[in-house]
């Protein structure tokens, strides 16, 4: 019989190896899935993982990696802080939408004025919007003990309705011939997040890098980061150490909301260009996978964000070249999280063959 024996300490080696093993397992089972769908699995895997980086048109796809990776990393960094402390913000998609609305709203309010201070104000607006949206579950949890998972998720649906209302009403382009959606911020120089469109560089990429560095310092060199880790690993010890759980909740949810809001703003002021009913593509949910795949570690999240961006881009190529359904990539990403959680057992437990008879 196979038994599990709890390790006295989580294995460091396995903790680093499980994401890699999970990616390999996902490739194998994803390949099987593609084969079931009647596509050549080897070719599909090559198109998804190899072509965007080293294929014939890599010069076009590589910048895309930054564009798709930046929001994922930005959101996942925020989520990882809360996840580490056992505070589950799964409504990042909503905070992302609200950040985009408020940030773009600030920019559009200045149209057609051109000034250097507009974009910084939009950044602040986006961060504040996401922060405020995340404060709803945070304050309710601190004040009333309400479950933050359910409240933050419900607010995603509320935010989606608000987005529809905004793009059809308040923020609708007055010169848009009645079409839904706001003015295109790419045509408005002062409200534009691009640094170099050809290189895929926009301010969101910069912000993601800064977030990685800050979160690394916070978690490893700062008392607050220590409290976050302590609360997650030993809640009772944290209580004795004088950690204020209310403040921790407000900080973790607030930070992740602000980062998600920023991601939304950079996206809407750059790659998407405008507020429209369906400008959000689920980065807020995929970022949950990124956070786990990166082992809730800043550097890990950076790598995981790049990998997940690769599956988005590769998925799109496979869609156009092989007719692979868009949903197949979603399944593929979900599978990755499954394998990751499954292989994680090797980090905390030893698998032993037990020959001893149980009395």
């Amino acid at each position: 019989m196979i038994v599990l024996e709890k390790r006295p300490q989580p294995s460091r080696a396995w903790s680093l190896a499980t994401p890699l093993v999970a990616v390999l397992a996902t490739m194998v089972f994803g390949g099987l899935l593609f084969a079931v769908l009647g596509k050549n699995p080897v070719e599909a895997i090559r198109i998804i993982f190899y072509d965007p980086l080293f294929g014939e048109f890599a010069f076009y796809y590589r910048p895309q990696l930054l564009v798709k990776g930046a929001p994922l990393v930005l959101i996942a960094i925020g989520l990882s802080l809360g996840f580490k402390a056992g505070i589950w913000n799964i409504g990042a998609e909503g905070q992302y939408i609200i950040g985009a609305i408020t940030g773009a709203g600030v920019g559009l309010a200045f149209y057609p004025l051109e000034a250097w201070y507009i974009f910084p104000l939009m950044v602040i607006g986006g961060a504040l919007g996401g922060w405020a949206w995340a404060m709803i579950p945070a304050l309710l949890k601190v004040r009333f003990g309400t479950n933050e998972i359910l409240v933050s998720l419900m607010l995603v649906y509320v935010a989606e309705q608000l987005l529809a209302s905004m793009s059809l009403g308040l923020l609708k382009n007055p010169d848009g011939f009645g079409f839904p959606g706001s003015r295109n911020l790419n045509d408005y120089a002062s409200a534009n997040s691009w640094i170099s469109q050809d290189a895929g560089m926009h301010w969101g990429v910069v912000a993601a890098m800064i977030a990685v560095i800050f979160s690394y310092i916070l978690l490893n060199r700062h008392m607050l980061g220590f409290h976050i880790r302590l609360t997650g690993e030993a809640p009772r010890a944290a209580k004795f150490a004088g950690v204020n759980p209310g403040r921790l909740i407000l900080f973790c949810l607030g930070a992740s909301g602000a980062l998600a809001g920023l991601a939304g703003l950079f996206e809407v002021a750059g790659p998407t260009g405008q507020i429209s009913i369906d400008f959000n593509v689920g980065y807020g949910f995929t970022a949950i996978i990124v956070a786990f795949l990166g082992r809730l570690h800043p550097v890990g999240i950076l790598l995981a964000g790049a990998l997940m961006a690769l599956t988005y881009i590769g998925g799109e190529i496979a869609q156009s070249q092989m007719g692979l359904p868009a949903a197949a990539i979603q399944v593929f990403q979900g599978m990755l999280l499954f394998f990751l959680l499954a292989f994680d057992i090797l980090t905390n437990y030893r698998v032993r063959l037990n020959t001893r008879k149980v009395a």
Binding site: L140, L150, V151, I288, G334, N348
Partner: protein, 306 residues
Amino acid sequence: MDISAINPVLLVASLMVAATPILLAAIGELVVERAGVLNLGVEGMMIIGAISGFAIAVETGSPLLGFIASAIGGAMLSLLFVFLTQVVLANQVASGLALTLFGLGLSALMGQRYVGVRPPQTAHLDIPFLSDMPVLGPILFSHDPILYLSIAIVASIWAVLKYTRAGLILRAVGENHDAAHALGYKVVRIRIMAIMFGGACAGLGGAYISLVRVPQWTEGMTAGVGWIALALVVFASWKPWRVLLGAYLFGGVTVVQLNLQAAGVAIPVEYLAMSPYLITIIVLVILSKDKSSAPASLGRIFHASH
């Protein structure tokens, strides 16, 4: 705007239809949580149930077979959660999220060929004479069989939990798994059965949306109903009849909101569509003060070695 056009009798009848998916999913999750497991994958199991039920009903022309398939589909997906949380002892919150993300993707993949297809109609049980009664007839006696089944499930879950040995064991596992294990109960086996029951119920609820309530298939059509069901279990303080009450309350909000949209009330459609989610939050706030009735082992990982 013409509120008088809303017929109260039809309103109550459609309220029950709107509430049934939430009711089915929530009563399943109630059993899972009473066994001490928090499965956040309800939304994923519902949508898998919705598409597997829809596909089988379309292919065979039989809604009944569709509903059976949806229960099997939901239970099959829950087996993934079983593997993650009961076999390899993964974090239940993360595993539940994984189940939802995976289920949404898989259902979109399975449902590609079924967009825009009309499913066979689910027959109503028009009980002779009784269904012809004014007011009470349309409200109580002329629904489809699944709606009656959902109420029967609530009643039997209540009876099993309250009066039977099996219910007592289930509750013991949920309240204190170590003690239950020491008494010789198979904690993991009982939990696996509870999770699969929850999956089957969620699957049925999903199929009720795609086969009766809407009826058609669109991607992501459950639109958060699974999450509302999770909130409902908290709302009901883990008591079956309160789940029924809560589900009908939410059904009522949904139906009134839709009727107001149709009647052309001055409130924009988007704000009306938000209302079920906002009300869920408000109800959660009001009721979250009292956590005493939550199963004590809820969400904790059980490992028999210690």
